[in-house]
Every structure is written in structure tokens, then in C-alpha cells.
Amino acid sequence: MTLALIALTPFLGALLPALMIRTGRNACAVTAGGVTLFALILLLVEAPAVWRGEVLLQRVDWMPGLGLNATFMLDGLGLFFAGLILGIGLLVILYARFYLDRDDPMGRFYSYLLLFQGAMVGIVLSDNVLMLLIFWELTSLSSFLLIGYWRHAPEGRQGARMALAVTGMGGLAMIGGMLILGDIAGSYDLSVILTKGEAIQASPLYLPALLLILLGCFTKSAQFPFHFWLPHAMAAPTPVSAYLHSATMVKAGIFLMARLWPALSGTPEWFYIVSTTGLVTMVIAAVIALFKDDLKALLAFSTVSHLGLITMLLGFGTPMAATAAVFHILNHATFKAALFMSAGIVDHAAHTRDIRRLGGLRRLMPATFWVATIAALSMAGAPLLNGFLSKEMMLEEAVHTPWLGLGWPIPLLATVGALFSAAYSFRLIGHVFLGPQRDDYPAAPHDPGPGLLAAPALLVAGVVAIGLAPAMVAGGLVNLVADAVTGGAAEPVKLKIWHGLTLALAMSAVALVGGYLLLARYADAVARWRRAGVFAAKPVFDALIALLAALAERGTSALHAGTLPRALGALCVALLAMGFAGWGEGALAGSRETLTPPLIALAPWALLIGTCLAAARMHHDRLMMVLLTSVVGLVVSLGFVYLSAPDLALTQISVEVVTTVLMLLALNFLPKDSPDETGPMLRTAQAGLALVAGLGAAALSYAVMTRDGPTISEFHVAQSYPGGGGTNVVNVILVDFRGFDTFGEIIVLAIAALGIYALLDGALRGPSLGRVISWVPDQERSKDRHPMMLVVATRFLLPVSLVVGLFILLRGHNQPGGGFIAGLVVAIALVMQYVASGYAWTAQRRPMDHHGMIGLGVLVAGLTGAGAWLADRPFLTSAYGYVTLPPLEKFELATAMAFDLGVFLTVVGAVLLALENLSRVARFAEQPGPDEPMDVDPSAEPRTAQEKG
């Protein structure tokens, strides 16, 4: 499990610094360092085996179905990178301890840093490309957090977002690339993919896969034209720049190109895309770097340039170039990290990174001077330092690599790049440390303590050591890694300082001398550069994102404005489209024999159509709409009567009564007419759409009604009495065959009533209560609030209605009726009491709270259903029997009756709760007046709006 543990250690350890910061900054840094060291030791334990040429593999199944497994591999390349990441990580942790201010939240810093470290180690140790993708995106995310570490700084936030957007884009493209690659190779495991190079390159999907993967690599490694995010990532604290944005994360793209080198390289596509991109990046970034005044920006563009160099070498596709690339990765990591740390030291000491405000620091900061100068000379490619060696190898390769058949472009441009590289390196030394001492530094520069200097000094020691004794210090490692990169194709090279008088040496000399001369005429060069007017990427990127966001906002709000008519319109259009598309070729009319409508049926039909037309015409008048809607309901109940469905007719008519009463009560508080919602054009369009949708609904109904076939209801008719114990099929369906539906529907009713209560109760609390109280009735109130005739009539009718209700409830199983209708009938009788005698009078006399009635109803119905479990029957299984109870005749008792009782209670409770709440609002809204029945007071003046207001 060691390999997995190496990758996992930083992740688990990331928790510790955030906790240890409570004991102090040293403890925090030591923990972070300890975690890194532990991982490094684990790595070194495995190293000897790799050194012997073994490839270590470990596999933990994660999502085998997808082919995504936690498979880890350690070979030379992985060892090299992991060592680099953990080793430099250790130095950066040391450096950061002394770099960060007392005010900076250090725990968070180290936690993020360790998260990043884990992700990075994960990338280089992954054997599974899908898991590699996961770690890949994690580096983007942790880099986002680290760049934005100083949250108060806008550059930090913007730089973080830009880095995330660019590298995130690359990462997403790479997902596509890896999926294709895995598909071609038949596995997502690198150990398999790397052996399938020929199959991959022969596949028609090679090019798309290559492009998508390279997009990921290029964005991550800041290759042109995606290089622009990296300089803005320098808003991060310097340790982060040294670690992520020079030594490790930006090398992830390069790592991946090296990793996939055996599978992808060697084709013309690879050569032209990769090496050209690298070459262009190298030259352009080197030129830009020369003219940057911010020390970190200079280093950032130089990093881009060197990454371009390495990319180009990998693009050449030859084993020797790959070896050079590996060597330069090592060298660049050492000198560039040292340079970033030195820049941080200068920034710390002088409180500025602006080269124009620096100079002459040599005597003030001698130790820093030496560290930075050696590193910069190595970067320039000066002999006896490691940068020289790998640059020589690069130039050597460039010399014999033709481009489109031409021999000169690559060597020429490579020399130009090297020249500019030398120039900016010299500028760093010359304009920061050399020259006359100044007296206007923002702060007094001084060498830092050993804590800050230790890390860069160690790195520089490495720079010199490799430079002086390359074969001894780095030779074995470079060969081992190159072997892993090329899949064994690389010849072992002997790294040496002196290769004899070669063309490469001449080019190197030209670059160094040219660089020096260029710097000597720097003022001239700057003037020319200014005149050329360079294209800055950040404003463009920012403007692009801002534009996209603005367009997104504009588009979204335009699409979602005034949504209700639009939503219904969209629904209608979608339905029509689907309906027409679904129908096919067949005729609309089915084969069922049609009936001739008798004359009497035509009258309600005409009434129905007339009502609908009137509703369309008069829809502004809400009162009229309520009435017209109830006419529709009445016609429907007539239809049910005509078609011999008394249960349905009874239900329909009682529902109509109840809803109309409730609607009128609610309408009391609403404006009595509705405004014109839309202009004439839109209204015409909507009317047209409504018409077509209506015709569609009619066509569908016609199609439904002209078809006939066997249905399950034949069973219901046949089984109603023998199976369900009732002769009223409708009721047996409701309480037995499909009692579960009824159970659901009474719950709907219960919820609706509770919802009305909750809604209106809310209206009587808080600010809306004020609105209710100050509400002015817009219609004149009758003086006769409780008409005597009505009071008398309803009180007389109440017991009669209750008996009728009970009768309907009891007989429901066999005759038209049932709990639902009974509930409505009783509810109407009680509603009439409220209407006639007033709220207070009736409320005093109600036997039970309506909430309770609803709860009891649902509970009774539910428990009746559950009672069947006692007999080990499924929920809602009914039982019935016949009882003789003198002096009555023999009668039937069925569990369905208990269920129906539940239905009955729920219906009554729900209707009355709704009514009660509307009345409650009314009692707050209307002025408290006489609220006793038969309280006619003809002498009272009609109350008008003016009086109340």
C-alpha cells in the first residue's frame, strides 16, 4: 500500500496544519514539513527497486464498472517527479514559515499547500488515467485557493479565477481526450495504454484524442496561446509561485506529455503541434520577460519560456531530445525555485518587486545576491552551471531537427530564445543587484535570516553541483527517467561539461554575448518594445468573461421574464409538437360505433360552448368567471346524470357548490376584475395558440371516445359484489379496488386544507396583518348580515341534511353515495350555518376542531387499511359480513365502511377548515360589527369606504 499512502499522506496531513496553528506557527510549519518528509521517506523506501529497473504497481478497486480504479505506478519518471515535488515542497515549507507575515493565516496556507502536494503526487503516481484526471483537476482547485490566498487583493481573486478557468478548461478537454484514449486502448490503465502506441496512432480517433489531451497539457503548462494565466497567478504568495507556478504544477502538462510519450509521440501531428507550440512559446515568452518590470512577472514569463523549451524537446519525438527535456526539467526546477525565493526575499526586504525601483542591492544583501546570481546565470545558460548543460543538449537537438523540410527555423529561433533568456537573466542580476546603491528604496534592504535563505541556498548548491559534476550527481537519474519516458528507447547518455567545439556551443556563445549586448542597449530596446504595442491578454480575458456573464444574465432574465404565460405557452407548444409527431399515419376516428346525440343532449352542449365563449370574453370580471365556471360544472354533472352515473353527478354537484362558496369568500378580498396583461399582438398569438391547443385536446378526446376495447373495469363490475361485498361498483372501486387512490386523494384534500390554514395564518401575522386590518371593502355591505329567513331555513335544514348525509354514507356501498359525497353534503349544511348565522355563532357550537377532524379522518382511513395486516392481508384488504341486530333487518358490515368514515371526516374537516380560515381573515378585515344571528339593525347607516378609511 506504500504507493497509495505516498499520495494519500499529504491529503490526510492537510488537516493537521489547520489544527496545529492553534499551538503556534512553528508547530504548524513543522507538522506540514513532517507530513511531507514522511511521504518523502516512503518514496525513498521504494526508490531502490525503481533504481534497479522495476516498475511498481498497486491497485485498489474503486469503480471497476467504469474502469476507474485507484491504481498507482512508480517508475523512473514517477519517482523523479514525486521526489521533485516532495523535496522542493519541503524547502518551500521551510521558506514559507519565515516568509509569511504574522497576520497571514498560516494554518490555512499549509493546509492548501499539502492539498496541492497530494494532488500533484497523485498525478505522477497514477496508473489510471481517469484517476490522473481527478488529481489533475485537484491541482487546479488547490492552485485556485493558493492564488486567492490573500483575499483582500483583487489581483489575487482575479488571477485565481483566471487560472481556474483556463486550466479547468484544459482539464475538461482532457477528460474527453482520455475517454477516447481509453476507448482505443481498451483500458484506462497507463501500463496498458503505453504498450498500445501503434494501435493508438493508427486509430482514426488519434487526432481528436491528441488535440484534447494536448489542450489540457498546454493550458496547464502555460503554452502559447494559453500562457497568459501564469503571470497573473503570481499574485499568490511567493512560496506558492516558487512551488506551484515554477517547479511543479506547471510541469504537470509536461509530465503528462512525457508520460504519454511512448503512446502518442513520433507522428507528424505530434511533432508539428507540440514542437511548434513549444518553440513559439519559448521565444515569445522570453521576449516578453525581458520587458517586465515586476520581478515575479519576469520570472513568470521566463518560466513560460522554459516550459516552452521543454515542450519543444518532447515534441521532437527523439529519445535524445526526451533525455534533454528530462534533464532540463530537473535543472529548471532547481534554479527557478531558487530565483523565486530570492525574489521573495528582495520583496520582503525592499518592500517592492519593481525592478525600476531596485538596483545596487549587491552590498546591502550580499548573500541573496550570490544565491540569485548563480541561479540567474544558470538560467542564462552560463557554463559550469546546470542550466548550461541542458541548454547545450537542447541546441544540439535543435540543430539537426528540420521543420517542414527546412533546416534553419528551429536552430535560429532556439538561438533567439536563448539570447533573450540570457538577456533577462543578466537584467535580473544587473538591474536588481548591480549598479549604484540608491537612497529611495521603500524600505531598508538587508539580508534575511538563515530561515529564508536556507532553502534557496540549498537549491543553488544543487545548481552548482550538477553544473560541475553532471554525470556523477544527475547522470544516473536522468538516464533512468529518460528510459521511463521513452519506454526503453533512450540510449544512456554520458552527461559532460565539454563536448568539443560544436555548433551548439557556438549558438550558446552567440546567445550569451548577444544577450549581454541587448541588455547594454536596454533603454533602446524598451522604447522599441513600447512602440510595438504589445497585446495584453488579461484585459481581453476579463472583458470576455464579463461580456459572457453579462450576456448570460441578460439572456437568462429575458428568457425567464413574465414567466407564467410563457411557461404555459411553452407547454402548449411542446404538447402540440409531441402530439402531432406521435400520431403517425392512422385515422383519428376509431372503429367504435358512434351514437347519434339526442336533441336533449344538444342543449347543454350548446350551453357549455356558450359559457366557454362568454368566459373568454368576460374573463376580466372575476365574479362572472366564478359563476361561469360553476355553470361548466353543472353541465358536466348533467352529463353524468344523462350517462347514468349518479355517484359522479352527486359528487360533481356538491363539489361545485362547495368550491363556488369558497371562491366567493376568497374573492371578497381580491380585486373584482383583472387588468389587461398583454398587448393586442401577443394576445392574438396567445389566443391562436390556445385555440390550436383546444382543438388538439378535442381531437384527442374524439380519438379516445371513438375507441373501445377490453378494459380492467369488466373485472370490477364482475367482482364488485362477490369480491367487494357491494353492489355499487363506483363505491367499491373507490373504497376497495382502488381504495389506495382514494386514500391518497383524501390526503391531498387534507394537505390542501392544512395549506390554506398555514397560508392564511401567515397572513394574519407580521406585516401582512396590518394590510389585512387596513383593508377596505370595495363593495357595500348589506345591513342585514344574517337574514332571518336564511337563518331559520338553514337551522331547520341542518338536522335533515345531517341525516341525509349519514344515510348517504351508510348506503354508499350498495347504492349511489359514499363517504365523499356524504362529507360534502354535511359540509354544505354546516357551511350554510356559517353563511346564515355568522362565524362566531357557528364556531361556538362546533363539536370538534377541524384540524382534529382532518387528522382523525386520515388516521381512521389509514388504520383501517393497516388493520388488514392483523389478518396478514395486504394494506386495505376489505372484509365484510352480515349481522342481524334485532329489531333491525339483517344488514351488512364492511371494513370499507370504516374507511369511508375516514373519507367522510376528512372531507368535512377540510371544507370547514378552509371556510373557517377565510372567515377568520374576514373577521380581522371587516370592522367588528354585530355578529349575532338575527341581529338585523335597519337603523344602521351603510358603512362606506370613506368612513372606514
Partner: protein, 508 residues
């Protein structure tokens, strides 16, 4: 007869009226009952997962009537999984509502919550098309109540839109069921699966139209463009715990499509075979695009989260619409993941808006209390929702992309899913860096000290996301088996139509 199958419906259906009847004056007892019921539901759901994993689907004949004449419930891996998801969310929401005091801001929260859970479980368990309609109604009306909980003009206004759009959907459901019944004479889904294949030419047209209308209903529930208009306003206005629960509501639509269009309109349905396939992929991709663009353009965190939910439905439905075993498993995984992610995000909206002087507006404001922690939560939830590694959103997307490989629309799907992710990443990063990093002005005095319970609830949701990621292997293994079950409809049909009643009934 395995009575446990109906228990997830009956338990909340009995606890809710009990709360209304006996506990309505005591909030503490309501909380205890509600939380206990949710915990019980979770236990039941785990049990059902175990039962469903044992083998073929199991039918429960309500009222002891033989299928297809009565109503049946059916337990299979998919329905058990959805019930589990519901139960998890329900427990979290009940805890959150009690801990944050949301349940004191209006009436009957716990009763409505229990009814809502009953509706959800019912919709996932039923094997009857009309019964599904009934549960859709329960869901709709209960969610309307929960959405308006706490009152306020904005909520009422958004609520009107929500209820009208969804009532239109309900009406449409009746049309669709009517057409399907006219064409086949049955409502039982298993029976429909049999009858759909043997429909006469005359009835086949009607069946197809019915099936497509039904698809529109489910698409409305799943907030697929252009039927998504109700979602952003409604969910943004809903109270946090309700919105968190609603994260599973859109999945009812996705679940129904997955169920109905593999079982009834699957391979064996003759001229209606794979009826939904042509429509879903384009709609899903447009939905993803609209959602992602909405995320980028949002000015309030609430709106941003709503659009991210729309986008996530696009991804889910892309998986559903491919109608292969692999894609169904992918859709299920993404569905589970995005439900939890959306719930967490809705809770975070609340955490943010009650701690900032400028509410959830994406604009600089003074430092908020717990800013560090809430910001961390947001980052994790955003990673999850945008589908970045390492959380399940990435795995789910990877599964969808992988499943799309064989489809002719593969390039479209890949392009839209990946670009959509990028746009969402940019949108989330913009919002997050402004909300949590761009601190301006002095800390506000006026805000009341927020409760800690919501932090715990959010943490729990994120922990669930992490668990889903870590155990993605076994979870996807279960889902692959569920998808295999879905694509072997004959087992479902046999389980339902072959189910024996307890009592010997004299059948015609």
C-alpha cells in the same frame, strides 16, 4: 406478502395525521414525532435496499386484488434506492427545520413534511399509472404548502406560478392516462408493458400520443427546458429546508421517465418502442446549457443554485435519455449525487443570506460570521455541483460521458456536458470569490446570531456526498444491477402479473 414494501408510505401517512390530530399544540412533540418517523423511514429504506438486492422485483397487491385489477406497489432496486434517497433527505430536512427554528415560522411544517415524504415514497413504489398521478398530486400540494411556509409576498407570488404550471401538468397527466387507458384498457404498468407491444394499429397511434403527453408531464416535473420555467422562481423563493427537500422532487420526473419508458415504452413496445429517446437528448442538452448559462449570469446565490439544479437535471436526463444499461446506471448515480449536492447548496444559500447584510446578493459585503467555514462548504458543494473532481459529480459525469460513447449524438453530449461544466465552474468561482473573499465594509451589527444547527445539517449533506464518492464502487455496483433490472422488464412483468393473492378469490 411482504408488508414492508408499503411501510415507507404508511408510516408518514399515519404520523402526519397524528401530528395534526394530537400534537398540533406542542412543537417539541411534533419535532420528536417527525424526527422519529424520518429515522424510522430511513431504517425501512435500508431494509428495502437489502430486500431489493436479493433478487427480482417484488409486487405488493393492495387490497389483495390480483394484478392488473387492483393497485400494486413494486419494489425493485431502483425504487428502493429512490426511497433511501428520500429518507436521507427527509431526516436531514426534519433535523434542519427543527434545529434552525424554521418550523416555528409557519404552521404544520412537520405534518406537511411527512405528507410530502409519503408522496415521494408512493411515487417511487407504485406500479400503477393512475396511482402515480395520485402521488404526484400529494407531492404537488404538499410541496406547495412547504414552499409557502413562513409566508411573505415573494413566496406567494412565486407560489402562484409554481402551482399553476404544475396543475397544468396534472391536467395533462389525466389526458395522458386517459389516452393510454383508451388504447390499452389498463393502468397497471406491468400490464401496460404487455399490452403496449400488442396494441392494434388503431390503438398504437393513441398510445404513442398518450405516452408522449406523459413524457411532457414528467419533463415538466424534471424541469426540462422549455418546461422548466417554474423552477427558478419557485425554488429560489422557497424556505431553505423545503428547497433542500425539493432537490429530490425533480428526480421524481427523472425516475418516472426511467421507469415508464423502459418498462412500458421499452424495446418490446412495437411502434412505441423507445418512445422518449428522440425527445430527451436534445431537451436534456438544451436544459444543461440553459442551466449553465443561468449559473454564470446569476446575481443572487439563490438563483445561481436554482439554475445549477436545472443544469444538473440536464445531465441526469442525458443519462436517462440514452436508454442503455450503462447510461441508466450513470443517470442514477448522478441523480443521487446531484440531489445531495443541490440540498447542500440550498442550505448554504440560507447560511449565507442570514449572515450577510446584503443577503444572498452576489456583491461585496462585510465579513460574515463563520465566513471561513461557510466558504469552505460552498467550495465543496460547488465542486460537487459543477462536476469537478474528486466528488461524485465528476464520477457521475464521467459515467454519462462514457455511456454516451456508442450513441450517434456522442459529440454533442460530450461537448455540451464538458462546456457546461466549464461555464458552471466559472460561474461558481465568480460567485464564491465575491461572496467569501471580497469583503468590504465593517462587520454588520444588525444581524441576529444565527443558529449552529444549519451548519451541522450542511456538513452532514456534504459528508453524505463524500461518502457517496468514497463508496462509489459498491454504490455504482448496486446501480448497475438496478439498471440491468430496468432493462429486463420481463422480470418486472412476471413479478407483478404473477403475484398471488393471499385469499383464494373466485376470479372470472
Amino acid at each position: 406478502m411482504n408488508h414492508w414494501i408499503i411501510a415507507p408510505i404508511v408510516l408518514p401517512a399515519l404520523v402526519a395525521p397524528l401530528i395534526v390530530l394530537a400534537l398540533r399544540y406542542d412543537l417539541l412533540l411534533q419535532r420528536v414525532a417527525s424526527l422519529a418517523a424520518c429515522a424510522g423511514l430511513l431504517g425501512l429504506a435500508v431494509g428495502l435496499i437489502a430486500m431489493a438486492g436479493e433478487g427480482p422485483p417484488q409486487a405488493y397487491l393492495l387490497g389483495d386484488w390480483p394484478a392488473p385489477f387492483g393497485i400494486v406497489l413494486v419494489l425493485d432496486r431502483l425504487s428502493a434506492m429512490m426511497v433511501l434517497l428520500t429518507a436521507l433527505l427527509g431526516l436531514g430536512v426534519a433535523g434542519y427545520a427543527a434545529g434552525s427554528g424554521w418550523d416555528t415560522r409557519g404552521r404544520h411544517f412537520h405534518a406537511l413534511l411527512q405528507f410530502q415524504l409519503m408522496g415521494l415514497c408512493g411515487a417511487f413504489l407504485t406500479g400503477d399509472l393512475f396511482n402515480l398521478f395520485v402521488f404526484f398530486e400529494v407531492l404537488l400540494i404538499a410541496s406547495y404548502g412547504l414552499m409557502l411556509h413562513g409566508g411573505g409576498a415573494a413566496r406567494l407570488k412565486a407560489g402562484v406560478h409554481y402551482i399553476v404550471a404544475n396543475l397544468a401538468g396534472s391536467t395533462l397527466f389525466l389526458f395522458a392516462v386517459g389516452a393510454i387507458y383508451a388504447a390499452t384498457g389498463t393502468l397497471n404498468m406491468a400490464d401496460l408493458a404487455v399490452k403496449a407491444g400488442s396494441a392494434t394499429a388503431e390503438n398504437a397511434d393513441l398510445l404513442r400520443v398518450g405516452g408522449l403527453l406523459l413524457l411532457a408531464v414528467f419533463a415538466l416535473k424534471a424541469a426540462l427546458v422549455p418546461l422548466h420555467f417554474w423552477l427558478p422562481t419557485a425554488y429560489a423563493a422557497a424556505p431553505a429546508p423545503s428547497a433542500a427537500l425539493f432537490a429530490v422532487m425533480t428526480k421524481v420526473g427523472a425516475y418516472s421517465v426511467l421507469r415508464v419508458y423502459t418498462l412500458i415504452f421499452g424495446a418490446e413496445a412495437g411502434s412505441s418502442a423507445w418512445l422518449a429517446a428522440d425527445w430527451l437528448i436534445p431537451a436534456a442538452l438544451v436544459t444543461l446549457a440553459v442551466g449553465a448559462v443561468g449559473v454564470l449570469g446569476a446575481r443572487r446565490l439563490g438563483a445561481l443554485v436554482c439554475f445549477s439544479v436545472v443544469a444538473s437535471m440536464g445531465t441526469v436526463m442525458a443519462g436517462v435519455g440514452l436508454f442503455t444499461e450503462r447510461s441508466a446506471a450513470a443517470a442514477m448515480f448522478y441523480m443521487a449525487h446531484s440531489t445531495l449536492a443541490a440540498a447542500a447548496l440550498f442550505l448554504i444559500v440560507e447560511l449565507v443570506s442570514e449572515r450577510r447584510t446584503r443577503g444572498d446578493r452576489i456583491a461585496p459585503a462585510p465579513q460574515m460570521r463563520h465566513g471561513e467555514l461557510v466558504g469552505g462548504f460552498f467550495m465543496v458543494a460547488a465542486i460537487a455541483m459543477a462536476g469537478l473532481p474528486p466528488l461524485g459529480g465528476f464520477l457521475g459525469k464521467l459515467m454519462v460521458l462514457d455511456a454516451a460513447r456508442a450513441d450517434p449524438a456522442v459529440w454533442w453530449i460530450w461537448a455540451v456536458v464538458l462546456t457546461g461544466s466549464l461555464v458552471m465552474v466559472v460561474g461558481f468561482a465568480r460567485a464564491g470569490s465575491v461572496l467569501f473573499w471580497r469583503v468590504e465594509g465593517e462587520p454588520a451589527e444588525g444581524l441576529s446570531k444565527p443558529a449552529n444547527a444549519p451548519l451541522w445539517a450542511t456538513g452532514a449533506a456534504l459528508a453524505a456526498l463524500a461518502a457517496l464518492t468514497v463508496w462509489a464502487g459498491p454504490v455504482t455496483g448496486y446501480m448497475e444491477a438496478a439498471a440491468a433490472q430496468l432493462h429486463a422488464p420481463q422480470d418486472y412483468v412476471d413479478a407483478v402479473l404473477g403475484a398471488q393473492t393471499v385469499a383464494a378469490r373466485a376470479l372470472p
